[in-house]
Amino acid sequence: MTVALQAGDVAVELGGRRVLDGIGLDVRRGELVALIGPNGAGKTTLLRTMLGLQRPAAGRVLVDGCLVRPGRAAIGYVPQRHEFAWDFPISVANAVATGLTGRLGLFRRPDVAAWEAVADALDRVQLTGLAHRPVGQLSGGQRQRVLVARALASRPSALLLDEPCAGLDMPTQELLGLLFADLAREGRAVLMTTHDLLGAIDRADRLVLLNRTIIAAGPPGELVGDPAPWAVTFGAGPDSALARMLKAAA
């Protein structure tokens, strides 16, 4: 499988403090990778760096072999749901079309091809029937799918998702997990941050445990059997709920 996203020995400093160090991470096309770590571990910062929004203090990020630059690379980005102005009076289709704004360039309106891309993206996340509904009238799961469709509209080779399942009920998390796995199987590189450990263990091809640096990475089957890196990542003891959950999952 081709490597779509590559972080090579990346370090990031925020306000003079090093928040990420020695990050080496490859995400291949067709692979769903879950980035797991406690709050403040640097998950979102790593996603921002992969997007080219945060300049690394050291190392480099490559997308399809080229240095990352916002708007230039074939990356679809799905932010946390609360980042989006859901009270904005806009339909689902028009919200998804904004995913093409950078590609269309200044002063150009979406053409037939752009609307076809929007229709394909809506179809992919099964929201075609809600295309004309105002985004403010959608449920949490539907909103998440709108954000995924917006990211898919530009037909990217890689998808970055920031806590896509946060605040959703179990059935919706299950449905979205299946969708993300399918999006990876179709040939995209999918990297998502998550606090949903069970969902990640169940769906992801690879887990990456992060706390300022990568503590461990590997297939869920391998990582779940070894509580040591989890303990380092989360600072959790052998009697913690996390340790019990890992034991049960193994």
Binding site: P70, Y77, E83, A85, P89, N94, G99, T101, F107
Partner: protein, 301 residues
């Protein structure tokens, strides 16, 4: 005064200032309605107020040196917008604090400058509360040209403005220059304010930016319709306000704003889906269901 008498006065050559005032009021209402849609949807009312006050020193300088008011106001407004944008990069202070500092400073500077002009009390009142009698022919063309430019700019940058309004981080990831687009929007707000100041006044111009767009938001869930309704509400209110002000000898600016407020209150009460009256039966029903079964109230909401 009947509406017919008002129309007669509009075509009376001895009252040439009246159609000019109406044209400027309607044009500025249309522009403010369109630009105000973004102001309301992005929660930028405070920066709209700041820009409205910030244009004052520019107007004052232009007045003192007998220069072009629109140009003077625009330079001062844009300068303040740039200062706010630059100083806001310092994360220790929130943007609203920076805005508060600069708009008060700009307004104070305007008062100091205008105090040096002979007969400044009258000029000050004219700037603060607007006047329909002092609009020269040249300003009519400047306002018309500026209005056309603002509308063209808004429609050209519409998809960019929508994208950054929805989610700034994703907009950056798409390669949009969010800082420059913000600045472009501030400049357009400034231009809309400057062309409106003459009829409605510096203090009340915020109402022209915010009230029609807020009323339109209550009436629709569609951005396109909101951008048509807001200028329509603004223009009709400007016409009605000027008519009432002319009939009863009220100040034009204040009357236009009061008409706008009435329209807003009507939208708040009678909006088909979000109006208080439309939601009242549903609330009553949910209360009675909730009283019967504590769990069902959550299902209804």
């Amino acid at each position: 005064m009947s509406l017919t008498d008002f129309f007669t006065d509009l075509f009376n050559p001895d009252l040439a200032f009246l159609p000019k005032a109406l044209a400027v009021a309607v044009m500025s209402s249309i522009v403010c309605g369109v630009v105000g849609t973004y102001v309301v949807l992005r929660g930028m009312a405070f920066i709209g107020d700041a820009v409205a006050h910030a244009v004052f020193p520019g107007l004052a300088v232009a007045f003192v040196v007998s220069g072009n008011l629109v140009l003077g106001g625009t330079i001062a407004g844009v300068l303040t917008a740039v200062l706010v944008a630059v100083f806001s990069q310092n994360r220790r202070l929130k943007e609203d604090s920076i805005i508060g500092i600069f708009f008060a400073a700009a307004f104070a500077l305007g008062i100091v400058i205008i105090s040096r002009a002979p007969g400044h009390a009258g000029s000050l009142q004219q700037f603060l509360f607007g006047s329909i009698t002092g609009i020269p022919d040249s300003d009519l063309y400047v306002v018309g040209g500026t209005a056309l430019f603002v509308l063209l700019a808004v429609f050209s940058l519409h998809k960019e403005f929508v994208t950054i309004s929805l989610d700034r981080e994703s907009a950056r990831a798409l390669g949009l220059r969010v800082f420059w687009l913000d600045l472009a929007l501030y400049v357009l707000v400034t231009l809309a304010v400057v062309i409106s100041v003459q009829t409605i006044g510096n203090i009340l111009v915020l109402a022209l930016l915010v009230t029609p767009a807020a009323a339109a938001r209550l009436l629709t869930d569609r951005l396109g319709i909101m951008m048509i309704l807001a200028p329509l509400i603004g223009a009709l209110s400007a016409f009605l306000g000027l008519y009432i002000s002319w009939s009863w000898d009220f100040p034009a600016g204040g009357t236009i704003v009061l008409v706008l407020t009435v329209v807003f209150l009507a939208a708040w009460a009678f909006s088909p889906h979000q109006g208080v009256l439309a939601r009242w039966p549903a609330r009553r029903a949910s209360r009675s269901v909730g009283a019967a079964d504590p769990l069902s109230s959550e299902l209804v909401s």
